[in-house]
């Protein structure tokens, strides 16, 4: 069964279209990422799937339940971690989890067992009895993730799970997300505007811009569609002959002259660098610099929208 299926889902606020006729399917057990600039409609989509807001148009099911007519069933089967932290700072980690467990009607035994397990999972067992107000940003985020799992949901929504965290804490948070996906088999739907995060964590990535999914595939496939690696060569000598020879080579897509040398678009990946060096040697051209550019999701976004994610976010704000 698909964890999530939307058909023509739309959300409009007056003239503004936040989510535009969206049809996507999220498979059970996958980590599904929505990558896009702020204001692309990612949070609006999550809000609708969590039954916090009502779609203007279209249908969607979460774990087989309709988001309009079966709101309670949807809510019971999902966990959510919002962008804004929503923990009780005066309470301890264990008390925060116990509160949620009681809200979901868990028995005393279930509560004790799951709170212990989850605090171990996010490595907060040592500080379980400290007030959350004393926690760092990363610890709070981990506790929120644990809280999202307390009622053993089938789908966990994470809205920008590492927003505002430093690089090290971000990597640690990725580890926890990966671990609970592996160990619990929970389907994870996350939004992010960090390329690396989508690339590193997600089985499939939907690239979202202006309320539309403009591409949807595995990160590897998305990047492969952008072609091979790009070589930036600094050259001294007979560049014209080298260019001609490179252009005759099957694993070269194109060669473009630059100020310092040439830019070579490879059909393959960077394992072709030694071959390029050999060709240059044979032609008597000296290579003064080599730079390899691998296609990233940023390249994908740029190719699809003509903007970098940062530019798109800046535009969205205007």
């Amino acid at each position: 069964m698909s964890a999530i299926r939307t058909t023509g889902l739309s959300k409009r606020y007056g003239e503004t279209v936040a989510v535009d006729d969206l049809s996507v399917t999220v498979e059970s057990g996958e980590v599904f990422g929505m990558l896009g600039p702020n204001g692309a409609g990612k949070s609006t989509l999550i809000g609708m799937l969590c039954t916090l807001s009502t779609p203007t148009d279209g249908e969607a099911t979460v774990n087989g339940y309709d988001i309009r007519s079966e709101r309670d069933a949807v809510r019971d089967s999902i966990g959510v971690v919002f962008q804004e932290p929503a923990l009780d700072e005066e309470l301890t980690a264990a008390e925060n989890l116990a509160f949620h467990a009681r809200m979901y009607g868990l028995s005393r035994e279930e509560r004790r067992e799951r709170i212990g397990d989850l605090l171990d999972l996010v490595e907060l067992a040592d500080v379980a009895d400290d007030p959350v107000g004393e926690y760092s940003g990363g610890m709070k985020r981990r506790l929120e993730i644990a809280r999202g799992l307390i009622h053993e949901p089938e789908v966990l929504f994470l809205d920008e799970p590492t927003l505002g965290l430093d690089a090290q804490t971000r990597r640690a948070t990725w580890r926890y997300i990966e671990r609970m996906n592996d160990e619990r088999g929970v389907t994870v739907v996350l939004t992010t505007h960090y390329m690396e995060e989508a690339d590193h964590l997600c089985d499939r990535v939907a690239i979202v811009d202006d309320g539309n999914v403009i591409a949807l595939d595995t990160p590897t496939t998305l990047k492969a569609q952008q072609g091979g690696d790009m070589l930036e060569l600094g050259l001294e000598g007979d560049v014209v002959t080298l260019t001609a020879r490179l252009e005759d080579t099957p694993w070269v897509e194109s060669v473009t002259a630059t100020d310092a040398g040439v830019q070579v678009a490879l059909a393959g990946d960077r394992t072709r660098v030694p071959d390029v060096v050999r060709l240059a040697d044979e032609t008597g051209v000296t290579i003064t610099a080599v730079e390899v550019h691998r296609p990233s999701l940023e390249t994908v976004f740029l190719a699809l929208t003509g903007n970098t994610i940062a530019e798109a976010a800046a535009e969205g704000k205007q």
Binding site: Y13, D88, E95, F99, G105
Partner: protein, 223 residues
């Protein structure tokens, strides 16, 4: 997950109490306003004879139920029912050394019921208002603009009978009017309306406010 689930209600209550007892500065802060009213008005007007106050009832006797009612209004709109009940009880206790005397201790259970109904009413009121605001600052500001008129139009400080007719009508649809009057009836033995009528009016307002609060809150969309 259901609001009528007793375990969920208990969870909310437990959280409310824990948060309250762990923030002593807030406990003190929320009591400052009521205590200032109590001490300054209670001593300043101690010998004053206000029209509309029954003969033989000292002003401090008249004032304490009003300030307890105000504490319930303030505490429950901002916080929770339990914290408001604790605050209201604290004000009541602090009033005793200031000269407040309970006329009939047998009616104390009625006082508890009245406080509970007031708490429920104003929690519903707070939730209804909160549902209309996405930022807490706007909510905080507005509630001050609403809370004080409710307070002054409840007969907490002075009898409504001396106010213009319009204000008197507003006072009659104000739940706090019946709460303060009921507290006076039970604690001091002097009330404008019969105690049963007060309690009935409070029961109705509690039910209405909770229903309105729940309905408005259910319609809230997160953006």
């Amino acid at each position: 997950m259901s609001l009528l689930d007793p375990q969920a209600v208990y969870a909310l209550w437990l959280r409310d109490v824990k948060r309250f007892v762990r923030t002593p500065s807030q406990v003190a802060g929320t009591l400052v306003f009521p205590l200032m009213f109590l001490v300054f008005l209670g001593t300043g007007f101690s010998d004053a004879a206000l029209p509309g106050i029954p003969a033989g009832v000292e002003y401090i006797q008249y004032l304490v139920p009003g300030i307890v009612g105000f504490t319930m209004l303030f505490g429950a709109s901002f916080g929770g029912a339990t914290t408001a009940l604790i605050q209201g009880s604290l004000v009541f206790l602090i009033a005793i050394p200031l000269g407040f005397r309970v006329a009939n201790p047998l009616l104390l259970p009625v006082v508890a019921v009245v406080l509970l109904l007031l708490a429920v009413t104003f929690v519903g009121f707070g939730v209804a208002l909160a549902s209309q605001f996405s930022d807490t600052q706007g909510f905080g500001l507005l509630i001050q603009f609403i809370v004080f008129p409710i307070f002054f139009l409840s007969g907490a400080l002075f009898p409504l009978s001396e106010l213009p007719a319009v204000a008197q009508y507003l006072g009659r649809v104000n739940p706090l009017t019946y709460g303060v009057d009921a507290l006076r009836g039970a604690l001091v033995g002097a009330s404008t309306y019969p105690l049963a009528l007060d309690v009935l009016a409070l029961g109705v307002s509690a039910a209405v406010m909770v229903a309105v609060g729940a309905w408005l809150f259910g319609r809230v969309e997160s953006v």
